[in-house]
């Protein structure tokens, strides 16, 4: 026990120890901002991978670590689409995941937001045109926000989500 407390004291507070993002996010359109306003200052996210390389998943996971701690902005990851306010979709939508994506979208209660995360989700990236890819995401479900990058840094994702919530960056 003593060792654990000692470790925590020695470590101190690490939240916020990251370089500020250099990339400026696209402004959020008024219609989307209005749609997001019903969720107030909390946002439950369901993450759906439709064929990413798992880089975007790693950065989404990083968002929940003590350094970024997205929970302090009311952002948390829901275990089921039924509990979600927003879907974060990564990857170029493969032929095998197309149906699953539509099912998840249908299972998410309205009103809902869809965020396309990463270059693949935004425009299929390097996989554009492949026989196994039917994306991008917006071909199958309406997308409200796009966050580009391969993969986008956690600080950039966090900024984009905060902007969506109407918070200052």
């Amino acid at each position: 026990m003593f060792r654990i407390i000692q470790k925590s004291l020695k470590t101190g507070i690490v939240t916020g120890n990251y370089p500020a993002p250099t990339k400026s996010e696209r402004p959020v359109p008024d219609a989307v901002r209005k749609k997001a306003s019903v969720f107030g200052r909390s946002l439950a996210i369901r993450e759906v991978d439709t064929g990413s390389c798992n880089g975007c998943e790693m950065e989404m996971n990083a968002l929940m670590n003590p350094v970024y701690d997205a929970e302090r902005f009311g952002i948390h990851i829901a275990a089921s689409p039924r509990h979600a306010d927003a879907l974060v979709v990564t990857g170029p939508v493969t032929v095998n995941m197309e149906k699953a994506l539509k099912d998840v979208h249908a299972a998410t209660p309205d009103p809902k937001l869809v965020i396309a995360l990463g270059d693949c989700a935004c425009d299929c990236g390097i996989f554009k045109g492949s026989y196994a890819v039917t994306g991008p995401v917006e071909r199958h479900i309406p997308v409200d926000v796009k966050i580009s990058g391969c993969p986008p840094r956690p600080s950039e994702i966090l900024n984009a989500l905060k902007k969506l919530q109407g918070r200052k960056p």
């Binding site: 060792r3 654990i4 470790k7 470590t11 690490v14 990251y18 370089p19 993450e47 759906v48 991978d49 439709t50 064929g51 990413s52 390389c53 798992n54 880089g55 975007c56 998943e57 790693m58 950065e59 989404m60 996971n61 990083a62 929940m64 670590n65 003590p66 350094v67 970024y68 990851i77 275990a79 089921s80 689409p81 990857g91 170029p92 493969t94 032929v95 095998n96 995941m97 149906k99 699953a100 998840v104 990236g125 390097i126 996989f127 045109g129 492949s130 026989y131 196994a132 890819v133 391969c150 993969p151 840094r153």
Partner: protein
Amino acid sequence: MDRDERIESVKKAFGAKILGADRVRGIPVVTAAKQDIPAIASHMHRASDLRGTLSLQWAVDLRPRLAAYRIYYLFTLSGGPWLMLQTELYGEDRLFPSITPRIHAAKWYEREIRDMFGLIAEGHPDLRRLVRHEHWPKGTHPLKKDFSWNHVMGRQDGEYHFRQIEGEGVFEVPVGPIHAGIIEPGHFRFSVAGEPIMQLEVRHFWKHRGVEKLFENLTWAEGVSLAEKVSGDTSFGHSLCYCQAAESLLGIEVPPRANYLRSLFLELERLHNHIGDVGAICNDAAYALALAHCGRMKERIMQINDSLTGSRFLRGLNRVGGLSIDLPSDQLDAAALALKKIEEDFTDLSKIIFNNASLTDRLETTGILKERTARDHGVMGVVGRASNIDRDVRRDHPFAAYDRLRFKVPIYRYGDVRARLRVRVDEVHESMDLIRQALENLPVGPITNAALPAPQPGDWALSAVEGWRGEILYFVMAGEEGKIHRCKVRDPSFVIWPAIQFAVLGNIIPDFPLINKSFNLSYAGTDL
């Protein structure tokens, strides 16, 4: 034993059935007619002087040069050397004899070959579709040369039949493809009676993106960025393996400084993944404290990656012939200092982790992968080393600067979650030491060899890299006009996924996430 003696051993046993024996870039290759393949493969697998593990089986459509398919078998013999076997199917021939009844590790490879090329392994006990889900139309075999890379696929109705266990009180529990956490999609079908798992069937390939076909559109230099996206968490390992294969094929000598830096970056990738996994394994046993500490250490390493190279995933760094950027020594020294602090930090934490009795109770005897099962599947890497499989490409086939660096390969025998955790903890310390050694001995000089000669169409090369999960393999064959004819990618996950089906038996479903996390396999790298 000399490598040629291995060929002699096969020749002695089979005489005139061996149609040819050759060495290609140092790898002995035996050619035989297709009907003799099962017997010869079985000999390579079982003969006491060879004891080969099937490491890879793959096909190549040789058109337009030759109207034939070639099937390759790669064996890793005891002690590490390679031995290859190949056969050809001419004209309209679509059948080849299956080796799965004799060599279990071929199970998924032969199903993959059937899906991607339409070549049928006769005698295979399970010819259900693997990569192609049931809605893919009949006759769509993407890696055939007459199938275009941007083919628009229709949909058909179809049903995948899971293996079923029937009986009183037996239930099926379907999980996935979309899971509760932030993880990749895959389907798991459990059969349970009460709590213990009687059977697990893994159904993957939801993320199949057509990576191998896309390679065939690219030139050698362009392939690097696709290799980085095979499995994002292993961006550097995959791009390194691809570059090595291309360099070996093109005959490019990589400058020593680039080799040392490549080893350094590969270890950095291993570090952040292993430290992240240690935290995540503990978290799946409800020990969130370790996750928090490991999460911040992993984040720190990724920030170091970013500050050194401009990419948290070490992307855009490798190029065919060397590296794209050089690093000044003051930056490297600063990174070494930061890593030293992280190592001390991690040592403190591992003491806390291994002193926790309730955590140990969850980890010990959970998800045991027996050595025999691991061998039958050809399992290697972190998972293999926890089940007493003493294989490490860095030692057995030294690449980059590993022939000039000293390190130990940690081996554990029990094959449970705790053993896999221990392998990772030990490897973190080995990686830290390797990075120190690489920095101490870092030579000065150029970091790239820019010339890209054109290879002869039909030439091929094979390369292996010990990524943080295990052995990554790339096979590349040159095509016309400086393009890639075929690029076979094998992430270690492809080999280890079938083995997890055995590791969970007798465990309870609530322990599955923990077991799965201790394997931590890539879905993207398997599905391609």
